[in-house]
């Protein structure tokens, strides 16, 4: 927990200052800084993280990968429950809570996604969306090396999430660190396919990722029914 805190605290400070200083007219007022971060990210990710994650995907049995994915998905479901409740969506909250109870109790602490087999839909609410539903603006777009695209609002959500995650409360430090590492690997692995799409599609991957991220987040905040965007000039 202390390690996480020491990483997140300065980051949080930067984000909050950035948020206050921002001009609301543009989504990405810190583009030069973000592009520099993106270049750092490409080097670090390309040389260290991606090869490691690719090896994990290639050499770990599919069943093990699926189990790990389900385990962290169960924690996601827990936070989806909290956020559905904070957004006053009782139906979604009910589904999410049902999933957590089912998968934790009957799915070996979440390793097996029994609830999906039974047809309970998986939620995807998070703190960033909750802030959005509460009417807090997204703030400037940020690209954080290793972490990826975010905004001040979503990044703040992830900090809250980082503090609250059950993994942080595990007493045994080696176990805790292994779980954090696995969590990162699992997240990165699920982005591999999207990444190869971006590389195929984009003229400028930085711009492409930014637009896609912001569109996706807006869509999620509005639960798949976003009002038409203002800047659509045909």
């Amino acid at each position: 927990m202390r390690m996480i805190r020491s990483v997140f605290a300065p980051l949080a400070a930067v984000m909050l200052v950035a948020g206050c200083a921002a001009a609301p007219s543009r989504d990405d007022p810190f583009e030069p800084m973000n592009r520099a971060s993106y270049r750092v990210h490409e080097v670090v990710d390309g040389h260290f993280i991606k090869p490691m994650v690719q090896a994990y995907v290639d050499y770990t049995p599919r069943l093990v990968q699926q189990g790990i994915h389900n385990f962290f998905g169960n924690i996601d479901d827990f936070f989806s429950f909290i956020n559905a409740a904070l957004q006053n969506k009782p139906d979604k909250a009910g589904h999410d809570l049902g999933r957590v109870i089912t998968n934790t109790g009957f799915g070996l602490l979440g390793l097996i996604d029994v609830a999906s087999e039974a047809g309970v839909p998986k939620g995807n609410e998070d703190f960033g969306q909750t802030f959005g539903v509460w009417g807090i603006p997204q703030g400037p777009y940020l690209f954080i090396p290793v972490f990826g695209p975010t905004t001040v609002r979503d990044g703040t959500g992830w900090i809250v999430r980082g503090y609250a995650s059950p993994i942080g409360y595990i007493e045994d430090i080696p176990t805790r660190n292994v779980l954090w590492a696995l969590n990162v690997i699992d997240l990165r692995a699920s982005a591999l396919q999207a990444e190869s799409m971006v590389n195929q599609a984009a003229l400028d991957p930085y711009t492409f990722i930014r637009r896609a991220y912001l569109q996706r987040r807006r869509y999620l905040v509005y639960d798949g029914q976003p009002p038409p965007a203002k800047d659509d000039d045909e």
Partner: protein, 214 residues
């Protein structure tokens, strides 16, 4: 006399044939246009999926075959001009007809390549079709589908479609809330600012010609 009658019969015959051909020509597009947008999306995507699942060349990841398949089965159902106009935004209005045509060609190639990468990745997918919510007289509708992959969160894929004289055509594909077409707008604007419409066409051509996609 007989000669004259024969000629007259032949003329009537030809007239009948012409009438039939004319009727067929008139009716064919009508019959085609009457295929509802959701039915069209379902038919075309099912056909494409069936080929992906059975064609040995596609299964082996043969990009040339995949592109040929997209070109023949899918692109006729897309309104490429409108997609290009949407992606290029303001710059499109100032472009010359020749620039528009080249831009459309390059953009089409890029979309085909992107789409074939996607198809290659999602082989074991099934598609759920949501009921169409639109007025019978509507000329612009959204067809909603959901791609279900084993062990994964489903991905919503929506098609924005417009009615044209040659049937319904898609002008945008929205994957999980991300519009493929408007996603290019920032990039296109950037390229136009740097090197004009010709600069954008050059960048697209360079991207498309940059070696065969794996």
């Amino acid at each position: 006399m007989t000669n004259e009658r024969r000629r007259a019969t032949a003329w009537v015959h030809r007239l009948c044939l012409l009438a039939v051909a004319w009727l067929a020509a008139m009716l064919a597009p009508v019959a085609f246009a009457q295929e509802a947008p959701d039915a069209l999306v379902k038919r075309v995507s099912q056909e494409a999926l069936a080929i992906i699942k059975t064609d040995p060349k596609v299964q082996a990841g043969d990009q040339a075959r995949i592109r040929e398949l997209i070109e023949s089965k899918l692109t006729p159902h897309f309104d490429i001009d409108r997609m290009t106009a949407l992606a290029a935004g303001r710059a499109y209005r100032t472009a010359t007809p020749e620039q528009k045509q080249r831009l459309g060609e390059e953009f089409k190639t890029l979309l085909i390549r992107t789409y074939s990468t996607a198809l290659n990745q999602y082989r074991d997918q099934t598609i759920d079709y949501k009921p169409l919510r639109a007025d019978p007289g509507a000329t612009d509708v959204t067809v909603r589908t959901e791609v279900v992959r084993p062990g994964q969160t489903p991905v919503e894929i929506d098609y924005s479609m417009t009615k044209t004289p040659s049937g319904w055509k898609a002008y945008d594909v929205i994957v999980g809330g991300v519009s493929l077409v408007t996603n290019y707008r920032d990039e296109f604007t950037q390229q136009v600012q740097a090197g004009g419409v010709d600069g954008l066409i050059r960048s697209l051509a360079a991207k498309n010609g940059g070696g065969a996609a794996k």
